[in-house]
Symmetry: C2
């Protein structure tokens, strides 16, 4: 028996090592950070909280991200169900990205992160 308290439940009860590992894999913090974490995803998602954006718009608003990386990140976000990609068959091409119902719930998360950052870092 180990003291209870992995990332999921870090209280003071006792827990077996098996439960610890099991809980660890189901840690909501880890799971969320894997999906919205990383260097760029929070900024991309936060950008989209203000509405639908074209690829080029996002690129302009986040000047320091390369288009290659932006493409990769958007693909991952789409795969995880956090953004919707809508492609218009026009010339020149147009692609629009927007949040999903799932990711709209992240607005509260970004608000907390932003508030903390303003208060403690800026």
């Amino acid at each position: 028996m180990l003291p209870k308290g992995n990332c999921v439940n870090s209280g003071n009860d006792m827990v077996t090592k098996e439960e610890l590992c099991k809980d660890f894999t189901a840690c909501p913090i880890t799971a969320t950070m894997e999906v919205i974490g990383g260097k760029w995803k929070p900024i991309i998602l936060f950008n989209l909280t203000f509405g639908t954006r074209r690829f080029g718009e996002i690129s302009v608003r986040i000047p320091s991200i390369s288009r290659k990386v932006l493409t990769e990140q958007l693909k991952e976000l789409e795969k995880d169900g956090l953004v919707i990609r809508k492609q218009y068959e026009e010339m020149p091409p147009r692609v629009e990205y927007s949040l999903t119902e799932k990711s709209k719930g992240l607005v509260a998360v970004f608000k907390e992160i932003s508030d903390w950052g303003i208060k403690n870092l800026l």
Copy 2:
């Protein structure tokens, strides 16, 4: 002039490129993620939200992090003023880590992240 809306202010007003870049460097989301982001820091900090922990305790509760990386991450967190390191001159040695006033404000952040993860990912 560009459409206004970097990571800080992604509304629809107009903004100069200079303002865009200026705002970008001051983005509270980016600033916060640089300090609490990464693969391990959220878990480490979340662990400490339950109280003071010894190095070995943290290591047990986060089985998948190596002690070397845990040491590195704790050092960075200490440098950024997010954890306090208290060393007892005993044999065997004892080192305790705890949150600072600054990082205690992150509890709300982790709550939001955790709630969203439970609802949408687990």
